[in-house]
């Protein structure tokens, strides 16, 4: 029998081993592994759509003794998104890295990929800790790949903060095991009752994860780390790694803690999310550099995701499902959009030799496809139609009005305006005196690179998915969520 869940984790591990052992062949091995892994993830998605929730007991021991992997509509959709984005990033990376960095990039990248899949499928609280460390270490190493002092400093800080988060989380796990005698998410959910245990374990585990999910004000480590990393890595960090941490928060929240801790924490998370929306958008608007802008917009986008929590807690079941679908749609849209934005930013940086927004005009105008990718990604980040984010926000707004919690709607609307401010401040550069070929305009001193068509494709494709496909074709998400475990 083929265990597709396990394969999505095992294949990239194997690929990483091969890439590390045979550095000369690493790009080929990496691409092949990527294709196989994505296929496995897609089949997981298809299986969920047909057979409903999937679960596999590794080692055949069954919980609570063994470890299980599980995938429902929520995790399945995120898994598919993550793998498609990762595949796009891989295709981009083929053309991006100089030969010196390649042999370092691919094995670490595949380990990161494996960790991502493992997290979306995780069903065991301690296993989540191990996987988080794999994710964090691979991410920090990839982020520091350029070797610049700033990059190393930023990613060392990122690594340490990540460790602080996982240690806190681990203490929560220890407490949980002490009190419940199980590490399996579902069994824990069955036996967890309101009380001090739930509160402390919840505070520790969620607190640790929130640090990794960069929820305001725990976001301080994110902008430097994401802005300093090489473009494909920044894309992965912003679009996927943060998403994985967020997914764990959401998973633990709805499965484990929301039922036993009452409405307070949900409102707190929503309030922090609101702070993130405002602060992140503001800093993005003030950023001088493109990649910093993109990084701060991630802080804002994470904020949006948390705005759903108080409503999720307050809503009755059918509404709850609707909101959860919107939340999922927003997360997927942001995954594709942010990846598209960072990959475009990387191309502009390569082409112009810098990423100072004010001076990017000529570079943008000489790369129309990249300009389009940024435009579409921008539309999705602001949440204008026909992007998936628009549908998600429409539902969020409607529900917050319907539940007489209009203040959440207010945050969304203000955030939307701020987002359009920073997005169009960037896009305005696309219009200006006609572009002659790159270097001429850019002046002699900066080193510029010719950008091929192939490397532009992934950015454009992902932006398209975010800005159009997810907006017009999102309905299946809710049917997929219908197969969610109660």
């Amino acid at each position: 029998m083929i265990d597709w869940l396990a394969l999505t984790v095992a294949l990239p591990l194997l690929g990483s081993v091969l890439a590390a052992a045979i550095p000369a062949r690493s790009p080929g091995i990496g691409m092949a592994t990527g294709l196989l892994t994505t296929t496995a993830a897609l089949s997981v998605g298809v299986l969920i759509a047909h057979a409903g929730e999937l679960r596999s007991d590794l080692g055949g021991w069954g919980v609570p003794l063994g470890i299980a992997l599980q995938a429902d509509g929520l995790s399945g959709a995120l898994l598919v998104m993550a793998n498609l984005v990762a595949l796009g990033i891989s295709a981009y990376a083929l053309g991006y890295f100089a030969s010196g960095l390649r042999r370092h990039f691919w094995p670490l990248w595949l380990l990161l990929w494996s960790a991502l899949n493992a997290l979306f499928l995780a069903a065991d609280v301690f296993n989540i800790y191990v996987t988080l460390e794999l994710l964090g270490i691979a991410a920090a190493a990839l982020g520091a790949l350029t070797g610049g002092q700033a990059a190393i400093a930023a990613n060392l800080r990122y690594l340490l903060v990540g460790l602080l988060g996982s240690m806190t989380y681990l203490l929560g796990v220890a407490i949980l095991y002490t009190g419940l005698g199980t590490l399996d998410l579902r069994l824990a959910a069955e036996s967890l009752t309101p009380g001090p245990l739930a509160w402390t374990a919840g505070a520790l585990m969620l607190g640790g994860l929130l640090l990794k999910a960069a929820l305001f004000p725990l976001h301080f480590w994110l902008p430097p780390a994401h802005a300093q990393a090489p473009a494909p890595v920044s894309a992965a960090l912003s679009a996927l790694v943060v998403k994985a941490a967020f997914y764990l928060v959401l998973r633990l929240w709805i499965d484990l803690f929301a039922p036993v801790v009452g409405p307070g924490p949900g409102i707190l998370l929503g309030a922090l999310g609101a702070g993130g929306v405002i602060w992140g958008s503001w800093r993005a608007f003030r950023s001088e550099r493109l990649k910093l802008l993109a990084a701060y917009s991630t802080v804002a986008q994470v904020g949006y995701l948390f705005l759903f929590f108080p409503l999720l807690a307050a809503a009755a079941l059918p509404k709850q499902q609707e909101l959860l679908g919107a939340l999922l749609l927003l997360a997927l849209t942001h995954g594709f959009a942010k990846a598209g934005l960072f990959l475009s930013a990387g191309l502009l940086q390569k082409h112009a030799g810098h990423d100072r927004i004010a001076e990017l005009g000529p570079a943008i105008r000489s790369l129309p496809a990249v300009a389009f990718a940024m435009g579409l990604a921008g539309v999705a980040l602001v949440g204008l139609p026909p992007s998936g984010a628009f549908i998600a926000k429409w539902i969020l707004l409607t529900e917050s009005f319907a539940m007489d919690r209009w203040w959440w709607a207010l945050v969304v609307l203000v955030g939307t305006l701020m987002a359009s401010a920073y997005v169009f401040r960037l896009l305005a550069n696309a219009f200006g005196p006609a572009a002659h070929q790159g270097a001429v305009e850019l002046g002699g001193d900066v080193q510029t690179e010719k950008i091929g068509r192939m490397i532009q494709a992934p950015a454009l494709l992902m932006a398209l998915v975010a800005a159009v496909l997810l907006g017009l074709g999102a309905e299946p998400l809710w049917t997929l969520l219908g197969s969610r475990s109660p």
Binding site: E322, G325, A326, L329, P368, F372, V379, L384, P385, P386, F390, I391, W394, I395, L397, T398, E399, F401, A402, A409, L413, T416, L417, S420, F424, A428, A430, F431, G432, P433, A434, G471, L472, A474, E475, L477, W478
Partner: protein, 499 residues
């Protein structure tokens, strides 16, 4: 024969698909781009023809696509949408010809014509929108499609104009979005239906309904350039002439005015709107806008700026018609949607011709242009007289019905507004006509790009205004003919008031 559940979608796609292909074209593929443009325009025209027939027979023509549980994208055709669709389709065809003549030698043509097609796609989409969600989607899409056109030239002041335009329209978009979701949270899916769909909420949520109305009005008023939300319009003048023509006559301002009509008649229902006292407020706002626009127009020397302020004033006639209770005024407002479009696009074409041919941008430079460019000036004259409302021009018909309706509704002060604005129109148009026809031309024009040959200017620039001018004449003279805009307007009014 196209099935009725495909037709509206097909009408939208007929400009979307060519647009997307045009984006991929190389700058130099002039012929192919022209072919794509024209093919799209003609295909749309044909499809609209089929649509008109269907609606005239009273068939239900609707395309539906589910975006999310309970959220449908609905494109459906009723008498009102057909009127707007036809207008935009016809004028798009003409404007495309004009734009090809106007822009074929400037840079970034593929980008321009791509967004040009997206712009009309959005316009047609919101014309056919069958519910508020769909309307909002295309309304925002219109903003996104027009922004690159306004910014197209890439000069500092066009960048500035585009920034202002975007600030206003996105701000308005947020207001509209707020109103729309709030309304949805009260009423569920907001499908446009003749006579309104909120009657069962009346009396329960009156307060909220009033707030929502003003949110929606705020959002739509930006594009409709109602005082005090009109600030972007004169700034957007920096755009190339075909864009201004489209923005002013068809796409943007009309989207706003059309939206106001939708809100008043097909969401609130004119009866409810009246009973909530919303109509009178609207009447005041529009009247102020009418007078203010005309007054500002008087003092403008830049020809396009003067036309811009005249748009501010003229578009408000449409909303004014909606704000007066009674079918006659409704007819006047709705029919002006068409008449103002035809006349205003003529005027902008002519302004573009003067600029392109002779480098004439200012009214003060227009001495004797009539002798140098008789046809263009003739077309301009027709448009101008129409705007003033001289019988038997199209503009006269609109104002006549508006006045009649006002009198019938017993709000006589509106008559004063109409008279005053007509006088003001005359005051800022007659001097132009006088200069153009009766003053002597200067020794040499500011910068003469196109020297007079067999035609006074390039053919692609000359024919569009002449054609639209003739349309404007016809709309007035044959107002009583069976399929004239007036007839349609009456059909719409009958259906809205259930007569």
């Amino acid at each position: 024969m196209i099935p009725d559940n495909i037709l509206p979608a097909a009408i939208v796609f007929s400009s979307l698909i060519p647009g997307l292909f045009i984006f991929l074209l190389d700058e130099k593929r002039h012929v192919l781009r022209t072919v794509l443009n024209m093919a799209g325009a003609l295909a749309k025209l044909g499809l609209v023809g089929i649509l008109i027939l269907g609606v005239y027979e009273g068939r239900l023509i609707e395309s539906r696509w589910t975006l999310a549980p309970g959220l449908d994208l609905v494109l459906s055709a009723d008498a009102l949408s057909v009127l707007f669709v036809t207008l935009s389709t016809v004028l798009w065809l003409v404007t495309t010809v004009y734009a090809i003549g106007y822009l074929e030698h400037s840079p970034h043509r593929s980008r321009f014509f791509g967004f040009f097609s997206l712009c009309v796609t959005a316009t047609v989409g919101l014309a056919l929108a069958g519910n508020l969600l769909t309307f909002v989607i295309f309304y925002e899409a219109l903003t996104l499609a027009t922004y690159p056109l306004v910014a197209h030239r890439g000069t500092p002041d066009s960048a500035q104009g585009a920034r202002v335009y975007l600030a206003y329209t996105l701000g308005g978009g947020v207001l509209l979005l707020t109103g729309a979701v709030w309304l949805r949270s009260l009423a569920g899916p907001v499908d446009f239906s003749q006579g309104g769909m909120l009657s069962d909420l009346a009396g329960v949520y009156d307060g909220q309904l009033i707030v929502i109305f003003f949110l929606l009005l705020g959002g739509l008023g930006v594009k409709a350039a109602l005082i005090p939300l009109h600030g972007w319009l004169p700034q957007a003048m920096v755009a190339p002439a075909p864009v201004s023509a489209l923005l002013h006559a068809v796409a943007v301002v009309k989207a706003g005015a059309f939206g106001i009509i939708r809100v008043v008649y097909d969401i609130y229902g004119v009866v409810l709107a009246e009973s909530l006292g919303l109509l009178s407020v609207l009447a005041v706002v529009t009247s102020v806008t009418i007078i203010y626009g005309s007054l500002r127009a008087l003092s403008q020397d830049g020809l396009k700026k003067r036309l811009a302020y005249s748009t501010v004033s003229q578009v408000s006639y449409i909303a004014l018609g909606a704000s007066i209770f009674g079918p006659i005024a409704t007819i006047g407002g709705v029919v002006h949607l068409v008449h103002q479009g035809i006349m205003k696009i003529t005027l902008f074409f002519c302004a573009g011709n003067y600029a392109e041919t002779l480098g004439v941008h200012k009214v003060s430079e227009m001495n004797g242009v009539g002798r140098r460019m008789p046809w263009t000036t003739l077309a301009f004259t027709v448009g101008a007289l129409g705007m003033i409302g001289v019988p038997p021009m199209a503009g006269f018909v609109s104002k006549w019905y508006l006045g009649l309706g006002a009198a019938e509704a017993g709000s006589d002060w509106v008559l004063l507004v109409l008279v005053a604005s007509s006088l003001l129109n005359a005051a800022y148009f007659f001097p132009i006509l006088f200069r153009a026809w009766f003053k002597d031309p200067p020794a040499r024009w500011p910068e003469e790009h196109i020297s007079a040959g067999r035609l006074e200017t390039a053919g692609a620039l000359l024919w569009p205004p002449v054609v639209t001018a003739m349309l404007a004449l016809a709309a007035g003279i044959f107002a009583a003919a069976p399929v004239s805009p007036l007839e349609w307007a009456e059909l719409i009014a009958r259906r809205e008031y259930g007569l």
